[in-house]
């Protein structure tokens, strides 16, 4: 069984899966940046007291699952989603979906994902891919970060769908129900909702660990890392931050470029709201994140490492926080035309 489905590569797994699953009902209108923006995907959080791979827990995007859910909800598309305790039931349900002609999204862990390069296999359980058929013993898989579609046998797929650890997928499967076609009017409304949600998550989460305040607080923390952690560990921490910011799936600049692309596309749906101008501010933020990454690389490569270098590094984040703050304030103030 094979469902008519065209694999398309994307930058980020979840927004890519969302866009690809909605392609038919949206008539290809929901591009990856639109899915990311409508799903209010942009974020920053530095969770205190938690360590991931012995480094800081820093995220540049919203929680896994949110982008798909919010995007579908905003567009008025009913969603089917299930988690399982039993591996057998999980596979039976998957087969049933495929028999009914639904390509489905699956949350998976990447540690045992065979087509991933070994260097990328960490216990990261919030990766997403689409299964769109079965031929012989192999499931047909469209992983948005890969250039081409691929296959997994039953055991390999079961293994990654039931990966263990933080955010364990538990066979999580999801897909949009076939409904009415998505209209431009719905997209416009969904864009406004998405922007509003993202303004809230970046500006108004209390505390100093999330949003623009989180960027600022991490900037200040970085300045103390050299003394507190020692040069080597501070370097490892910075390397981890750069990986979260630039590794596969961010589209570059910690998702800031995807968001800028979203605002540009949004501008053509909702002209006269300065969205294109605000998009430029996010491009600037993304560029500065990358400049900061180069500075960080200087430190973890051992080329530089004085306190002055850490101050410069921290100041980049303070500057970014200011840019993103004014950008989100500008979005907040929009009186929709």
């Amino acid at each position: 069984m094979k469902i008519e489905f065209e694999h398309r590569q994307a930058a980020h797994c979840e927004s890519g899966v969302t866009s690809n699953l909605l392609r038919v009902s949206s008539n290809s209108k929901i591009t990856e940046p639109l899915a990311f923006g409508i799903g209010a995907g942009l974020f920053f959080a530095h969770i205190p007291f938690i360590k991931i791979n012995n480094g800081p827990a820093i995220a540049f995007r919203t929680l896994p699952g949110h982008i798909f859910n919010r995007t579908c909800k905003s567009l008025g598309i009913p969603v089917i989603r299930k988690k399982f305790r039993s591996k057998e039931k999980a596979e039976a349900f998957l087969k049933e979906c495929l028999d009914n002609g639904h390509p489905v999204g699956c949350q998976v862990g990447v540690y045992y994902l065979p087509y991933f390069p070994k260097e990328y296999r960490f216990h990261f359980n919030a990766h997403n891919l689409i299964v769109y058929g079965k031929e012989g013993g192999n499931y047909l898989v469209s992983d948005p970060i890969m250039e081409n579609a691929t296959v997994l046998d039953s055991y390999q797929l079961e293994r990654v769908r039931f990966a263990k650890g933080a955010l364990a997928p538990k066979g999580h499967i999801y897909f949009p129900e076939k409904g009415a076609d998505i209209t431009d009017e719905q997209i416009k409304q969904a864009i406004k909702n998405g922007i509003k949600k993202n303004v809230n998550s970046m500006l108004y989460i209390p505390g100093s660990f999330a949003g623009v305040a989180g960027i600022k607080s991490t900037g200040n923390k970085i300045k103390k890392w050299r003394d507190k952690l020692g040069l080597q560990k501070a370097g490892s921490y910075l390397a981890q931050m750069v990986r979260m910011q630039e590794e596969i799936g961010t589209g570059g600049g910690g998702f800031r470029y995807i968001y800028a692309a979203f605002l540009q596309e949004a501008d053509s749906y909702l002209p006269g709201n300065q969205l294109a101008d605000i998009s430029v501010m996010f491009t600037k933020a993304g560029d500065l994140w990358r400049t900061a990454a180069v500075q960080a690389a200087g430190i973890y490569k051992g080329r530089i490492g004085s306190q002055e270098d850490f101050n410069t590094m921290g100041d980049y984040l303070l500057e970014i926080a200011e840019i993103e703050k004014s950008a989100f304030l500008a979005l907040k103030k929009i009186k929709w035309q």
Partner: protein
Amino acid sequence: MKKDEVPQDLGSLGKITKEVCYATDSTGKYVTELSTGWDVKTKALDVAWEDIAKRIATAKERVLNNHASPLLFFMEYRLMDISILADYTGFWKWQIKRHLKPGVFNKLSNQKLQKYAEAFNIKVEDLKSMTVHED
């Protein structure tokens, strides 16, 4: 980032697939561009694996000195902490902590060892002898 500035340094992912980046063209419009990698992040990934290699080496030494059981070595080798290992094996965390002691580990039943071997994707004899086959 401008389209012609998208880095094309060959990283480990670049050997298998190129990745999509968002960048602006000459008119300022966002387009996607494929990248084979960026040495800034390749190095960041190298740093992560160098740290892991050090942790594995330390664990190996502790096992050889009889301060810890081979579980510790394979936990580091498979990047697992106690809670991930507990999820994969079904053991309680306190049980795993006990099994990390060489004396306790040496008396474990084959059935229990089998659970660990499955979690680490290795054979029981390799678990006992701390043998690694590249996979």
